[in-house]
């Protein structure tokens, strides 16, 4: 969930009233926002870098507000205020207009070289904008928020904003070899080639995260103006030449990317948010984008579309009984201008370009519910008759769990992920013999594989509890995972029961006695006859020679028990003898 931080006083000024922290928190809650933190720049810096560094920082109160991940129109102060004011019916939702320029339209020509790396681009112009320091900061911050969220860290879309008065169109969006791109980037004092820049930015804490998007590509995307000035090398950095400042009046905005839909949404959001400060409020100057195939389109789209939803559908899905007129009013408060049409049960809803999150009637239903107030909805219990049931294996697990505890063993719950070492080397096995599922992106060795046996988890638990009085008698009943090409995903869980006895003596007879008890509970009689169980001398690298037996029950091998090999004990950093038992309980269902 993205967090937007806004200056409280600025926010209240824009909302036209002040709130107490509690009041504002409540308003947020109702609207689906969350007032996450009340802080200041000073507080943030002192928390992160100590009070000394924070000495000079501003102590203007900041509200950090969590915004739903699909509401890109609420990612800046301007959008938040507009949304809340419309919600509280203090203003009517503004109508965004795209206009053609008096003179020549700004053109962005896409060449076909971009196809392989970053094929899409859209553009627009904000004319006669009036920034202040706060507005300018918000403008930059919105781009950053969009980059982090809908733009997927610039991978899908990257935004460039430029001082149009320093440039001369038409602009060309193309892709070139890195060595052929040379320009002075933002915040640098001299020109570098793209190759040099990529090296320099490897140590840049902010930009290094974006380098991978184009790094190994033969051609890098780049935008030129008609004089050969580089506007930007998306998605990494803009040129210094066209940088915008607080005093910039005319802004050329380009969005390049690999996702056309998202590029259009991003452009719409930026221009709808900041056209507020243009001389002609909420009016955006169109730009023409010429595609490699010669066709062209004008942007931003700023598309308004109409949706039709029946009032009874909304009432049913929310569980309320409101008149269509009231529902239309509720929706209008959510920035969705609505009116009742047709037979009096149809509501026509206008979806503005800011609400790209509305893709289905259910999204409209939700907005009606929010405006109605989730906490005003009368609850009802569904009148459905159903029969409870338990998953049989879980039921068996539960029964065994109680009886194991009743037999004096203590239950533990260990992790399903562990290191290769735990399930292989430490038990004297080769990893390939375990048929284990391997994780491709573990952050530490503790998450390399899914466990194929519960034993390592129990031994690690003993190691972590060596100070407890002896004997330690532990058990776990959980799933292990084995590769299995017969299942759709290629791996299968098995429900295992594992128990260990750790004392000055190995206590094989105790573990054996436990097995007898388990079999008694499972209603499996001793003996080789069909349906019975026996243990037969066996070998295993984890066990002491001659102290290992395989357990056969109902005609199949279900597991092993025995005294652990001293090597195993040592590798798990233990010092006492230990006997163990591990069986698959699946066959006993």
């Amino acid at each position: 969930m993205p967090t937007v931080s806004v200056k409280r006083d600025l926010l209240f000024q824009a909302l036209g009233r002040t709130y107490t922290d509690e009041e504002f928190d409540e308003l947020c809650f109702e609207f689906g926002l969350e007032l996450d933190e009340i802080t200041s720049e000073k507080e943030i810096i002192s928390k992160e870098q100590g009070t000394v560094k924070a000495a000079g920082a501003s102590d203007v109160v900041l509200y950090k507000i969590d915004v739903p991940a699909n509401r890109y129109d609420l990612l800046c102060l301007e959008g938040l205020v507009r949304g809340l004011q419309v919600f509280k019916e203090r203003i009517k939702a503004p109508v965004y207009k795209r206009v053609m320029p008096d003179g020549k339209i700004q053109k962005l020509i896409i060449t076909e070289e971009t196809a392989k790396i970053r094929p899409f681009a859209v553009a627009a112009v904000l004319r006669n904008i009036k920034f202040t320091k706060d507005r300018y900061d918000s403008f930059i911050e919105l781009q950053e928020k969009l980059h982090q969220n809908i733009c997927r860290k610039r991978a899908l879309v990257a935004i460039g904003t430029h001082d149009l008065d320093t440039l001369s169109g038409p602009f060309t969006y193309t892709a070139k070899r890195p060595s052929d791109i040379k320009f002075k980037p933002l915040n640098k004092t001299k020109e570098y080639t793209a190759c040099e820049l990529m090296n320099i930015y490897k140590t840049d804490n902010h930009l290094k995260h974006y380098l991978h998007i184009i790094e190994n590509k033969p051609l890098y995307p780049v935008i030129y103006d008609s004089n050969g000035v580089i506007l930007s090398m998306p998605p990494i950095i803009n040129g210094d030449h066209s940088r915008i400042t607080v005093n910039t009046r005319n802004i050329f905005i380009e969005c390049t990317g690999t996702d056309f839909t998202k590029a259009k949404i991003v452009l719409d959001i930026i221009v709808t948010m900041f056209s507020e400060y243009c001389e002609n409020q909420f009016t955006v100057e169109a730009a023409e984008v010429v595609f490699p195939n010669g066709k062209s389109s004008t942007f931003p789209e700023l598309a308004y579309r109409k949706e039709m939803v029946r009032a009874d559908l909304i009432n049913k899905k929310v569980g309320i009984r409101e008149t269509p007129e009231n529902l239309a009013k509720l929706l209008t408060r959510m920035y969705l201008k609505s009116e009742v049409i047709g037979d009096g049960n149809q509501i026509e809803i206008e979806i503005p370009p800011t609400r790209a999150d509305i893709i289905h009637a259910c999204d409209i239903v939700e907005d009606a519910a929010i405006a109605y107030g989730y906490n005003n909805i009368q609850m009802t219990l569904p009148k459905t008759y159903t029969i409870a049931n338990q998953f049989p294996l879980n039921k068996l697990t539960e029964l065994l769990r109680y009886d194991m505890a009743a037999a004096g063993f203590t239950e533990v719950l260990t992790f399903a992920l562990c290191s290769q070492e735990d399930i292989a080397d430490k038990l004297g096995l080769d990893i390939s013999a375990t048929k284990a599922v391997h994780i491709s992106n573990p952050k530490t060795a503790e998450f390399q594989v899914a466990r194929t046996t519960l034993l390592p988890g129990l031994l690690k638990t003993i190691a972590a509890n060596r100070k407890m009085p002896l004997p330690l008698k532990l058990f776990e009943i959980s799933d292990i995972v084995i590769k299995d090409s017969d299942t759709d995903v290629g791996a299968k869980n098995y429900r295992h029961l594992c128990a260990v006895y750790y004392n000055k003596n190995p206590g094989f007879e105790i573990i054996h006695g436990l097995l007898d008890r388990i079999m008694q509970l499972l209603d499996v009689p001793p003996g080789e006859d069909k349906g019975g169980y026996v243990i037969k001398a066996s070998e295993g690298p984890a066990f002491f020679p001659g102290r290992c037996a395989e357990i056969f029950a109902r005609g199949q091998s279900v597991g092993k028990l025995g005294v652990l090999h001293p090597d195993v004990i040592t590798k798990f950093e233990l010092t006492m003898p230990c006997s163990s038992l591990e069986i698959n309980i699946g066959p006993f269902l």
Binding site: F29, G32, P68, A69, R71, L156, D259, K316, K317, V318, G319, I320, I359, H360, A361, C362, E366, A369, Y374, I377, P382, T384, Y385, T386, I387, A388, F391, N394, E398, R401, A405, A407, G408, T410, E411, V412, F415, A416, L417, H438, I439, S440, N441, P442, A450, K460, A464, N465, L472, D479, V481, K483, T487, D488, V489, G490, A491, K492, N493, R495
Partner: protein, 475 residues
């Protein structure tokens, strides 16, 4: 003997200590003849003036004793010129002497009293004190003892009381009952040693259930009592298809990042024929262009991406499988049988670990399938569910989940901490998800989920999740 009887609680023994006082041979002599100091003084007094030799001649050894005491008390003094002894002026007043007369032999008097009352300490002291005229009775006694005129003997006596457990015959004492003693009421012949009830009991050899599985069972019981059916969730490895795509989570969604999800190296992808093509095409359609009155996500959906195996990040993947099976049945029979499902099982997140986050945790999930189910039903069901776990006040916050719309975050009022806590997430499954499975528009599914660990930590006031789950959690 008395002590033995006492430990058997037959009697109570009160012991009292006291002294008796006896005259020595010398003491008796002085009582009879008078004390040497008195006799010597009397002689000096009579003679007015005499020499030391004269006294020694007259009294012998006794004369030395008398002179010593009289000099010490400064009753007599030695004239340094003619070496004669005479009564001192100062001394005459003390020790019962007056200038002109000798009143009494004090030493003899006390010795006499001790002789008479020496056996009874109280009376003796009273007599010596003589109605408070003499204050330092003890000093007098000690002085006489020092002169070896008396002896002090320490004595004690017992005051023994019978208890109600008094027996005329002594029973043998034993520490505890045993099986032999139970035969023929043998134990009645013995007295059994008393227990010390102030000590703690012996640590018992116990087995235990894990806190989380206990809590799991508690939640299970709630679901069962509300008529819910448990889903099969027995696969940790899941394809991205079921984990994300089938839930209408777009392929660029952040939850599918390497930072958030464990991807599987081996087996890297699910089987080619993991599910029927009809369903795959529906999923492709809703992601790419949209359908069922939805505009879709509008991007190039890749089948290969959806085949990538992951460790399931939520059990909703299993819910999705369950619903898909239900949809197949629905298509066959043409009507929907209302269903309530639940599951409690492990899920995996490739998160940075801290005191409240582990890479593995348990998710509790409930869902209801039916016609015409709306938010009011969800709120009703949640109210019933949370009441069981002791949360009586709920409020709901609008939120965004990729696969539910409307979505509600659930907040519960924690009575003890007096604050609202987020206790779960809920919503109505998106039509894109349900319709592509083959359900009709009339079928809706309401669902909610929460973690098992969080309410357990709140309930037992556990601050670090590692104390609850993992190798270090207390056995």
């Amino acid at each position: 003997m008395i002590k033995t009887l006492e430990t058997m609680y037959y009697v109570i023994n009160h012991v009292k200590n006291y002294n008796t006082y006896h005259l020595t041979e010398e003491g008796f002599l002085y009582v009879k003849q008078g004390s040497p100091e008195f006799n010597v003084l009397k002689y000096i007094f009579k003679k007015v003036k005499c020499t030391m030799d004269e006294i020694k001649k007259e009294f012998g050894k006794e004369g030395d004793i008398g002179l010593n005491i009289l000099f010490k008390n400064k009753t007599i003094e030695l004239n340094k010129l003619d070496k004669s002894i005479s009564c001192s002026k100062n001394g005459k007043k003390s020790n019962g002497f007056t200038l002109n007369n000798i009143t009494e032999d004090v030493t003899q008097k006390y010795l006499d009293k001790i002789n008479t009352y020496g056996e009874k300490e109280n009376i003796l002291f009273e007599k010596i004190c003589n109605n408070g005229l003499v204050k330092n009775a003890n000093n007098i006694i000690q002085e006489l003892k020092k002169r070896k005129l008396i002896e002090i003997k320490k004595n004690s006596y017992s005051y023994i009381i019978k208890t109600n457990r008094f027996e005329t015959q002594i029973k043998k004492n034993i520490t505890d009952l045993n099986y032999l003693l139970l035969k023929n009421d043998e134990y009645t012949k013995y007295s059994i040693k008393k227990y010390n009830f102030f000590s703690s009991g012996k640590k018992i050899n116990k087995g235990n259930l894990h806190l989380l599985t206990k809590q799991m069972k508690a939640f299970k019981d709630i679901f069962i009592s509300l008529g819910f059916e448990e889903m099969n969730t027995q696969n940790y490895v899941e394809s991205s298809f079921w984990c994300f795509d089938a839930l209408y989570i777009p392929q660029q969604h952040p939850s599918r990042d390497l930072q958030d999800t464990f991807f599987i190296k081996e087996p890297e992808k699910c089987q080619n024929d993991f599910i029927d093509n009809f369903y795959i095409n529906n999923i492709k359609k809703i992601h790419t262009y949209g359908d069922y009155d939805s505009y879709g996500w509008n991007y190039n959906w890749q089948l290969e991406e959806s085949k990538k195996n992951v460790l399931r990040t939520h059990t909703t993947a299993n819910s999705c499988r369950t619903l898909f099976n239900l949809a197949k049945k629905y298509k066959k029979q043409g009507y929907i049988t209302p269903k309530k499902y639940f599951s409690i099982d492990r899920v995996f997140r490739n998160e940075n670990l801290d005191s409240t986050h582990l890479a593995e945790f348990h998710q509790i999930e409930g869902l209801m399938v039916g016609e015409r189910l709306g938010l009011s039903h969800l709120i009703g069901t949640l109210t019933a569910f949370y009441k069981y776990i002791g949360i009586h006040q709920l409020k709901f916050k609008p939120t965004f989940n990729p696969y539910t719309e409307p979505s509600m975050e659930i907040y519960g009022y924690h009575e003890e901490n007096k604050k609202w806590l987020e206790v779960g997430n809920s919503g109505i499954f998106r039509p894109e998800m349900l319709l592509s499975m083959g359900f009709s528009k009339d079928v809706s599914v309401i669902a909610w989920g929460l973690s098992l660990e969080r309410p357990t930590m709140i309930k037992y006031n556990i601050k670090n999740i590692r104390d609850l789950f993992g190798y270090k959690s207390v056995v």
